[in-house]
């Protein structure tokens, strides 16, 4: 596929894409597609271990409940 065609296809896919797939059979796990919004300043990103606020999750420990 030519590069332009590939890029167009990707753009179309991204625009039309739900963060989840159209069909979601049971018993499978799904990861929603990440969208970029804002990013942290370098110092904050370095300390938090990610540049994306969306992925900056607190570590709570334990099984699904905070301690």
């Amino acid at each position: 596929m030519a590069q332009d065609e590939f890029i167009n296809a990707m753009h179309q896919m991204e625009n039309e894409m739900s963060p989840f797939p159209e069909y979601t059979p049971v018993g499978m796990t799904y990861t929603p597609m990440q969208k970029i919004k804002t990013i942290y300043e370098p110092e904050t990103a370095f300390m938090q271990g990610t540049v994306f606020p969306d992925l900056d999750k607190p570590f709570l420990g334990g099984r699904g409940c905070s301690k």
């Binding site: 890029i7 990707m10 753009h11 991204e14 990440q34 970029i36 990013i39 942290y40 370098p42 110092e43 990103a45 370095f46 990610t50 540049v51 994306f52």
Partner: protein
């Protein structure tokens, strides 16, 4: 923290931003926001490394282009005290 350490820390932080944006771009290769951010960050990184090397010698060992002397060995080695000063 002395100025050299502060500059090193800045380079580490900006380098990390580049690294994380690169991972995002692996799965979103046509995301213009990410591409723009990556390019801006890379410019910043290059400028910071250039500033560091102008003042303190090679930051990456592949950047030693000084000609008559291998300056890389003049930096402190990891086991030397001066490479492990406390940050505070």
């Amino acid at each position: 923290m002395n100025e050299m350490k502060m500059l090193e820390q800045k380079i580490h932080s900006v380098g990390f931003v580049m690294f994380d944006l690169r991972l995002f771009l692996d799965t979103h290769p046509t995301d213009m926001t990410a591409i723009t951010l990556f390019n801006k960050t890379m410019q910043k990184y290059t400028a910071l490394v250039a500033e560091y090397e102008r003042m303190y010698g090679p930051y990456h060992k592949n950047n030693d282009t000084s000609g008559n002397m291998w300056h890389w060995v003049c930096n402190p080695w990891p086991w030397e005290n001066s490479a492990n000063e406390e940050d505070n």
